[in-house]
Symmetry: D2
Subunit: 343 residues, 4 copies
């Protein structure tokens, strides 16, 4: 099986044709390595158009790299990072944040992947007490790992709270475009305008081949990032190929179209299966993921035809992700198959 359609993750999809074309177009002659090239300058300009001029942008290889390079740049080893228990930095990065930053990760249980002041405030303490890791970062994921979305007001509440305590807000935006689309807002409205300090801007899950961006909204925070990126093995020599991808992603609203389509496909699937009463959808379908409890015995039967992950074995909860390249036909087929199997 060389190529197939899966509902496992938006990173099972390929590269969007216009993005791939931009890479092909960039493949001409020599370019100075490590970012001092035409494409990189141009891609950074595109980001400034979208997010405002007062940002600093650094490209890295992957999402874990973006999170770790960003967090490492703005923390000391004795800090703590507070996040939802379900956060990618907590459960899906094999301990990379701890190993690389030295910080303590404080995971907070949530119902929907979203943290609130109420949920975290018990951990905002011990400032100046040398026995405790010093709270420094509130890290949220937008959209969350459960497909839900923070509203601008919800984010603003967290950034105000954080800044009041001399803390910073980090956003893991592996699916930031899906969130913006879901809220029907500009990217700026959920980042620059609501006071976040640093963002991992995701490209790979929205149609790129590889490449993410670490974006600082406060230039005082980024002084050391270039050394940390290099020391973290996240500096690519032929950077033009990441930059060309971002340039394409941010042109012609591809970022928006891709995310919009992925979100729409998830909504379509959830609509089509809501009449299967043995399927319980457990989270609001706000972006491109569906979380559903289904009778355990059906899971292997469905997985024989479609690749996807069991999210929570104990609850028999599965995750189905759509992507920019999921077609209505894919959804129809999958829905029909689910109707057929789950009786």
């Amino acid at each position: 099986m060389k190529n197939f359609k899966s509902f496992a993750s938006d990173n099972n999809s390929g590269v969007h044709p216009e993005i791939l074309q931009a890479m092909i177009d960039a493949n001409s002659g020599h370019a100075i390595a490590y970012g001092n090239d035409y494409y990189t300058k141009s891609a950074i300009e595109k980001f400034k158009v979208l997010l405002g001029n007062n940002i600093d942008v650094y490209f890295v290889f992957n999402g874990t790299g973006a999170n770790v390079v960003g967090l490492n740049t703005i923390t000391n080893t004795y800090n703590s990072i507070i996040c939802a228990e379900t956060a990618h930095i907590n459960v899906d990065e094999c301990g990379a944040p701890e190993k690389n930053t030295g910080c303590k990760i404080i995971p907070v249980p949530t119902n929907n992947g979203k943290i609130t002041i109420n949920l975290i405030k018990q951990h905002i303490k011990g400032f100046g007490f040398e026995h405790h890791s010093q709270p420094k970062i509130i890290s949220i994921t937008q959209a969350t790992e459960l497909g839900t979305v923070y509203t601008p007001d919800e984010i603003k509440e967290l950034t105000s709270f954080a800044h009041k305590h001399n803390m910073l807000v980090h956003v893991d935006g592996a699916r930031i475009c899906n969130a913006a689309v879901s809220l029907n807002l500009d990217l700026k409205n959920i980042t620059t305008d609501v006071g976040i300090d640093i963002l991992s801007f995701g490209g790979t899950k929205n149609g790129m081949m590889y490449g993410e961006a670490v974006i600082f909204f406060n230039k005082n925070l980024s002084n050391n990032v270039k050394y940390i990126r290099k020391q973290s093995m996240q500096l690519t020599s032929k950077m033009r190929y990441i930059s060309a991808q971002f340039e394409a992603l941010l042109s012609n609203n591809i970022w928006l179209k891709n995310a919009k389509h992925a979100n729409k496909m998830a909504k379509l699937l959830s609509d089509k299966i809501k009449d299967i009463h043995r399927i319980t959808i457990t989270q609001k379908v706000e972006t491109n993921g569906i979380f559903a409890i289904i009778p355990e015995k059906y899971i292997p039967i469905i997985q024989k035809e479609y690749f996807f992950y069991v999210w929570d074995e104990d609850k028999s909860e599965v995750r189905w992700m759509t992507s920019y390249d999921t077609t209505e036909q894919d959804i129809n087929n999958f829905s029909a198959f689910l109707h057929e199997v789950i009786v």
Copy 2:
């Protein structure tokens, strides 16, 4: 200046057309992320054909990543790693090996980038003495950062010596193909056959876009590598695009043709400029780099037209690198320009 020809580094060049085509061909449908895909299996098979079946292969993003993931997998934090003073792991990775492995790097001065038992033996001591970092790794670069090449016998001497002391030999093979071509040998002859333990196999400097391979020649050493690769932020989700590149590189002898051509261009350049008596070539031109002392005043004049690095400011020594895509015309032009300027 969007595209230009430089003699700065073989990583200023673009992607070889057949490799790019392979990436385009891989861009069809979905593929399971993180390496459990058709392309990755196939690329690993290609490596086994070249290097023997008893290897373990893991793809990573870049050269520093390959060195660090490899070294981290086979060391404890209290070990030392002995290498030439000029080694990439010593001077060009911003301390990534120390930060990520915790190990001590022991740099050894050399004349030509190549270490010998004589040069390193004073550091092979203190075994069992807890105050000293415990010697564990001899790391060589093949071809070296100075463009020179270890013969199979030279390597074998080092691997025998290392194994006798329960140490391991790591090869930074960012330009391993250039070395094989220079020696007119198979890749196997300078790796598997001479007892090295682990290799960073370079792709990017030989015509790939990104992607390197960590290759273990002893499967007992690779038990933990998959966790270390992930924790080191070197696991790509859409791995098929690295794999497709390697598959192409290792097909139709592209690895060999590219390296051979790059080496040939360096030789051509050195031949063409040897009559400029104010240029002193300081290292044997065995692969694709030329190291030369030129009068200081000419450097900025030449750099105005051609991008390259000053290797050693104190000595007024420069480095000119050729690449798989350097043309004879490029060499003729550059040589003519040098003749014109340096009088």
Copy 3:
């Protein structure tokens, strides 16, 4: 105020006279540094008499050092360590375990500081899945940070569970003597006999000046510890002075008498104040600590006379610790004062 009686912690007390005398006696002539001395050999023998011959013992400076050196020796950076949310390694070591081992700490909420299989089993998963930190250690504190004690059966259940999953059990025994005394058991009964793998044996809180021991119950685990102890800055040059303390502590049952007395004083205090109905004792008084909720307004009044810590500001919960040198008179005075203040 040079000297005073506090209920803040058992580390506010001084050195037991017999232990101090042993240090004075050791202060004669030269001794080989770093542990190759008479006193160290002798102290290790004392440990073997108490815990069995099949142990490996290494002395370190302090409790955080013991925990970190021990955990670092038996983990890889990509492992996870599961412990109670209240564990010293989680909240009182300023992130030293994360920084030094690279591991993820997974904190588990408990009612009484004691973890059970039920509480932790949701975290024992993802074996072989490279995106997750690999579960390796169950770390318990005996006696717990809340003064409670694990029974031998409770420990055995955890060690069996751990070993079934190829995991190991670490015991933070800063107050292991208080636990043994509380259970009226030998130290061996709650360590060697119940299958624990590694123990931080506390000396400082039981009458020593400084010094703790890392004890391995499986000699296969301790191969690298001497390098890790040194690299962790926990190897003392004049080791005889730690060793002489341990020798004294383990002679004439001082370890037992000290712990017994401290426990008894806590019980006495709890008995004497149980009639103050505005004090709610929140944890069983099984060792030498009392946790109590008292009306907030009284706390500063009491703290003006007696030094102690507020344990949980939100709940107005305080912690009162007794020590080997707390006298009945101290308890009587403190109890009388509490009766006077809290009305």
Copy 4:
């Protein structure tokens, strides 16, 4: 053999009687843990009397701890630390500096353990170039590991050079008192007055039981040190016992008398053996160590009676250290024995 006289190291000696007495005197009643006690305040005042008021003082357990806590506080992970090849931080700390700070150590060969601008200037480069570890620290040892001493002018030259490059100077002062005595200067003259930034002030090798001080000469550098000390496992709970030792050491000129005596004994030994023509003393005897080449065959014979280290096996060079408690009789006996053996 419980007690004996050795020439192995000044850390084979015991505790000076006045210092031990101070510890005994401090053993009365309770004291707040972790440094907020009478003794600690008093000891810090003593340091200020000697070195000036503009210092910050932090006590730690041992010399490696002092070096690492100090260096870690004033570096970022991507910095480099330049030191003599023979420096304790380079060869005697099992890689603790690399593991704990993440920095690169750049060892510089010297003849006598002392670095100069000329010896290090080739490494002061690459500022702003992200591929290179960024030079930040020049670390010198005073007195050096070879028993030699930097003059105030030599230090001033290094500090001026360092500050001109935005770098800092760290002094490993495990034997700083021996150096001051050798120069016949106050401690202030070779620290505060010559612009050093941070000092590891040694106690253990000059008559203390354990305990060293990290001293910052620029208070802007010490903001984070308390967290780093704790996270580095170098914060002792019963700090009064380190503080009482320092208070005693800095009272009645004990620091001076001890160091003076140790130095004098080394001079005496060197005078007494200079007529043994088969002994070649290889370094100036400026403090309390003698480095000598002797015929290899005599070494085991001498070691049978006296414990000492072979410094360089290849050269058959040994090290003999004297201590504050070495007596003239010890020297006479040892000298007589050497005369008898080496014929």
